[in-house]
Amino acid sequence: MAEIVKYPFGEPISMRKAYGEALVSLGKAREDVVVLSADVSNSDYSGMFEDIYPDRFFNVGIAEQALVDIAVGLANGGKVPIANTFAFLFATRALEQVRTHLCYGQANVKLAGAYAGLSDSFDGPTHHSITDLAIMRCLPHMTVVIPADPIAVHKLLPQIVSLQGPVFFRLCRNEVPVIFGDQYEPRIGKGIVLAEGRDVTIISCGVMVARCLQAAQDLVRSGIRPRIVEMHTLKPLDRELVTRCAQETGALVTVEEHSIIGGLGSAVAEVVSDTCPVPVKRVGIADRFAESGPYHALLDCYGMSVNDVVIAAEHAVAAKGR
């Protein structure tokens, strides 16, 4: 298993740049892929695709509802559209389009939700996306995928495009450490055990996976051996893995760059309450809006520090007794 995670982590690489590169590779591999953006292609880096495949790129202006609907029309014509804008805009401004046409209509459109979580940190709470997972997860037929590092972006994007049906691909804006090695082979719908442990399972997604791996080291030092699970696919959730972790470790911690309401924590709580009730401690934003500031400082201030994970794990373990 050691080969999946790189220790020490690799140098930080821009997630959006990784995404732009992955998009370009995809453009080469698949002629049916078309890319759309809503006047933020220099933010979400879909502009990298535009530079190389201008005829397969459409900038629809500041019109997120039309962005999705135009993609629906293109999908009807046999294209595989990847629509790009800020995650919060897909999950709010264009949500009716997403629900009606992607989920109910099952249009084969992929949504690349840029600047997710707190990663558009300086732009502030209007641009933060802290409820997109809750929102996308509740929609029937939606698939929700959250890459944890630049490697994951490259490995997951082609799978997303091969999948028939709508997918929400949740992307971080910033430079984050490369945590995965070449052995990392994610399969949509299957969680991955990154480290074994018997005392508690820490389930996380996105850029919080790196922080969980760091927390694990602290926990081991204090005598708690956590299992670390990367849940890159929030929906459909790997219920078997979640249940098995509950059975085998007796307590869970969920960690996500998202509100503690409705997202990964909620999905896990739903499953184990049904299959194997054990304590679940949820690490995330405590149902409030954050503020403007540097990214990592925000994560630390709003409940997603390495130490928050450690404390939650300790609480989870302590709760097992009761």
């Binding site: 078309v34 005829d55 397969r56 459409f58 629809v60 202006g61 019109a63 509802q65 039309a66 609907d69 135009i70 993609a71 629906v72 029309g73 293109l74 999908a75 009807n76 014509g77 046999g78 294209k79 559209p81 009716e96 389009q97 009606t100 046409h101 109910y104 209509g105 099952q106 249009a107």
Partner: protein, 302 residues
């Protein structure tokens, strides 16, 4: 109680007047009559199941008939033919009329019409892609049609296909902002293979558009958004057919046909009254409406 058989108001299998054929008087008569017969089908569907939208279905009878029995290049035997013309009923609540047209056009058995809105029916309360052959995308929530059809037209351009995209809009519907987003985008991409038809019946759900949300000057709105505008009497079959053809001759920009219509057209007590937007008739109303429509068919028969 109406039996399923009764719905078949055109017993002969309907003639299709293929795209490109001349708009002969016979064809116009045939299509006009058919449109009224479809109104009768819609009336029965809504009456029998006590649910559905009559007013806005009646106002698009001629438009949908012209499209499905002449103008659209589609193949019911092969509904996924890649080069078919695309049709979107953006004002999805008028779907009873679309279902009637699709059934008689051969997409599914005419008998299915009377299952409209019942459990296990292929005919959902609003259009649905998976269950109903001939439906391209769901509709119901208003406003999607322009942008979706723009995407369809864009795909056709990428494929260098001659196929076109058609979308029928309600006038109340164009209150929705996403309509104007789509309008801007269609103009930007010079989608001259996109034809919108605005069912300009002057009534929306809660009243006259002039009271609920005034839209004039309507042609200027679309022109200023970069569209070519054709105005037409939307219940005059020949004019509708001609306008659809004319739209094909406009180059470099999308076209909207502003069709002047009457909500509830054909039944005197339903016309222009928003009450008939979404209410089913009582049995007395049903009988009165039926007889008025049948007389109208009779007038075309002569």
């Amino acid at each position: 109680m109406i039996t399923k058989r009764e719905v078949i108001t055109i017993p002969e299998s309907p003639v299709i007047h293929p795209f490109g054929t001349r708009h002969t008087p016979e064809m116009v008569i045939d299509l006009s009559k058919r449109a009224i017969n479809f109104r009768i089908d819609v009336l029965r569907m809504v009456y029998q199941n006590k649910t559905g939208h009559i007013g806005g279905a009646f106002s698009v009878a001629e438009i949908l008939t012209a499209l499905f029995f002449h103008h659209l290049r589609v193949d019911p035997a092969n509904p996924h033919w890649p080069d078919r013309d695309r049709f979107v009923l953006s004002k999805g609540h008028a779907c009873a009329m679309l279902y009637a047209a699709l059934a008689y056009r051969g997409y599914f058995p005419v008998e299915d019409l009377m299952t409209f809105r019942t459990l296990n029916s292929r005919l959902q309360g609003h259009p649905e892609r998976q269950k109903t052959p001939g439906i391209e995308v769901p509709s119901g929530p208003l406003g999607h049609g322009v942008a979706i059809a723009a995407g369809m037209a864009l795909a056709a351009k990428m494929d260098r296909s001659k196929r076109r995209a058609y979308v029928v809009l309600g006038d109340g519907e164009i209150n929705a902002g996403v309509i104007w987003e789509g309008a801007l985008a269609a103009a930007k991409y010079k989608l001259d293979n996109l034809t919108a038809i605005l069912d300009y019946n002057g009534v929306q759900q809660t009243g006259a558009t002039i009271k609920v949300m005034p839209l004039e000057p309507i042609a200027e709105k679309w022109r200023s958004f970069g569209w070519h505008v054709i105005e037409v009497h939307g219940h005059n079959m020949l004019r509708v057919l001609d306008a659809l053809d004319e739209a094909n001759e406009i180059h470099g920009r999308p076209v909207i046909i502003v069709a002047r219509t009457t909500k509830g057209k054909g039944v005197t007590f339903m016309e222009n009254d928003h009450f008939w937007h979404g209410s089913p008739p009582t049995s007395a109303q049903f009988e009165a409406a039926l007889s008025e429509l049948q007389q109208e068919v009779g007038r075309w028969q002569k």
